[in-house]
């Protein structure tokens, strides 16, 4: 019966290994000292406050927010019709479309960023912001298509056929019958896309430029120069933000069903 005690102990150690660093980061962000240390020296909120006063963090946060919301919306606008076509029409080459659209997940982000920079952004002469927007849209598109396709697959096809038979146009049936029924899936795709884009580093690495950086890239640059607890404070804030979003989504619509 040795197994019965060994199992839980290992599980506890593994959970400690997975969660522990996060707890340490949160503790370190309440430090009163000037260098990053654990256990924290004293208690203060000064590093949490400092995060909001650093100008570059404010700027890069705004850019990351814009990218996460904008590129996820764009990915949904491209992805929903494509998913609908692949699930409801006999579309020649629909597997090819699915494969093409899902590839940005398979190819490592750093390569996507470099390829886009050299063979699209520079030749076409795009601005940094637009380049980041396109790259993040390509990255989020596979998630949008996957999650929306899954909720379309779970939706019976006869209700839209009924709507069409009763005189609704195809378009009308889509907006009045399909869309309300896959609302949950779309919201889930939005949250997944948002978190993916917001936390994304490799894709943005080559595409970020002077003055236009995403928040994670900004943090990477900052931590190379300054060794104070402000990155810890920012990390904890971001972690709590994503946890709140995911938790709310789980409560509201059973997010995990869709992912």
């Amino acid at each position: 019966m040795m197994r019965n005690t060994a199992g839980p102990i290992v599980l506890l150690l593994v959970l400690g290994f997975l969660i522990g660093p996060f707890i340490i980061i949160v503790a370190a962000s309440f430090s009163a000292g000037d260098t990053l240390a654990f256990p924290p020296q004293g208690f203060s909120l000064k590093w949490i406050v400092k995060v909001f006063t650093v100008e570059s963090f404010r700027q890069s946060f705004a850019i990351s927010m814009f990218l996460a919301v904008g590129s996820t919306l764009a990915a949904l606008i491209l992805g929903i019709p494509a998913s609908y076509a692949m699930s409801r029409y006999r579309l020649p080459g629909s597997e090819t479309v699915r494969f093409m659209v899902s590839m940005p997940i398979i190819v490592p982000g750093i390569i996507v960023g470099l390829a886009l920079l050299r063979f699209f952004v520079i030749p076409v002469g795009l601005s940094i912001t637009l380049a980041l927007f396109l790259a993040h849209t390509a990255l989020v598109l596979p998630y949008a298509v996957r999650v929306v396709s899954a909720s379309l697959a779970n939706l019976r096809t006869d209700i839209e056929e009924a709507a069409v038979l009763l005189g609704s146009s195809r378009m009308g049936a889509f907006f009045r019958v399909i869309l309300p029924n896959i609302r949950g899936g779309i919201l889930a795709a939005f949250i997944l896309g948002f978190v993916t884009s917001f936390n994304q580093v490799p894709v943005s690495l080559f595409l970020s430029g002077p003055g236009v950086r995403t928040l994670p890239i900004d943090m990477l640059g900052y931590m190379e120069i300054v060794f104070d607890p402000s990155i810890a404070a920012l990390s904890s804030l971001l972690a709590f933000m994503s946890m709140a979003v995911v938790f709310a989504a789980e409560r509201l619509l059973g997010f995990s069903r869709y992912v």
Binding site: F22, L36, P81, I111
Partner: protein, 275 residues
């Protein structure tokens, strides 16, 4: 099923065209660059890349860390999943929540935590000097050990989740049956559990291995320029030396690996759907 082909194309085309221009064509051009020499095709970029001892070392280190992280994740994953699966539903849900939680947190934040733990004045060094084991701080940051630890923490949840679903499909009585028939725990694992959960292990292993091989943030923060992996080498070759030929070689290595892994996962998924 609707038959109108034009409508279907009109709906699917924007997404396909977008993926082609923003993604597919640039990546193909990037890859083709590695086979281009002035005026003709050649594989000299590949020969040059592997002729450099530094590049070979980085390539082998990336493979080594990928395998090591996968192997250790498998061992810890089996232990953790085996402890989670028999729990009552609510406790199980909470445990899975705790395992998945780190996946929602920014990888930059998760990796940064290891600086606090492994740094010169970090927890590990404080503990070691407190106990009196070391006189001066141990250098753990910017070593392979630090990168290994960071990668393991980043990708272990994927292995645990894959193994939980595999172990849940394990028939309830096979393990007690094997025990009653006299098998020791090692035999039970090797001859009963492992063959029956192989699929979950392959899925988890593929996710962990490709994740570790193609990681950027962890080797960048915890390894620095001392412990380069393929992605950090790619970044360095491009930013420091504008060496696009090497970048293309590394890109092809990483892409072919990810594709192989993806095909393997698809095959497993389609076999499972049929059965």
């Amino acid at each position: 099923m609707f038959q109108n082909r034009k409508e279907a194309l009109a709906l699917a085309l924007p997404a396909a065209l977008f993926a082609a221009t923003v993604f597919l064509v640039p990546v193909v051009l990037l890859l083709s660059e590695g086979f281009r020499a002035p005026g003709h095709w050649s594989i000299s970029a590949y020969i040059d890349f592997f002729a450099s001892p530094l590049n070979r070392a980085v390539f082998l280190r990336t493979l080594k860390l990928g395998f090591l992280v996968t192997a250790v994740a498998a061992v810890l994953g089996y232990a953790a999943a085996y402890a989670i699966v028999p729990l009552p539903a609510s406790a199980k849900g909470r445990m899975i929540g705790l395992v998945v939680l780190p996946l929602m947190i920014s990888p930059v934040a998760r990796t940064y935590a290891w600086i606090v733990i492994l740094g010169r004045t970090g927890i590990v060094n404080q503990a070691l000097s407190f106990v009196g084991l070391t006189d001066e701080p141990l250098r753990i940051l910017f070593t392979e050990t630090a990168v290994f630890i960071g990668l393991l923490q980043l990708f272990l949840p994927l292995m645990i989740i894959s193994l939980i679903s595999a172990l849940e499909n394990l028939p309830r009585d096979v393990v007690p049956a094997a025990r009653v028939l006299g098998a020791n725990w090692f035999q039970v694992f090797w001859k009963v559990i492992l063959p029956l959960t192989r699929e979950g292990l392959v899925i988890g292993g593929t996710l962990v291995f490709t994740g570790a091989m193609t990681a950027y943030i962890t080797p960048a923060i915890l390894g620095g320029s001392k412990v380069l992996m393929l992605e950090t080498l790619l970044y360095q070759r491009v930013t420091v030396a504008s060496d696009f030929a090497s970048a293309s070689v590394i890109a092809l290595i990483l892409i072919s690996m990810s594709f192989a892994a993806n095909i393997l996962l698809r095959r497993i998924a389609s076999v499972r759907r049929k059965s």
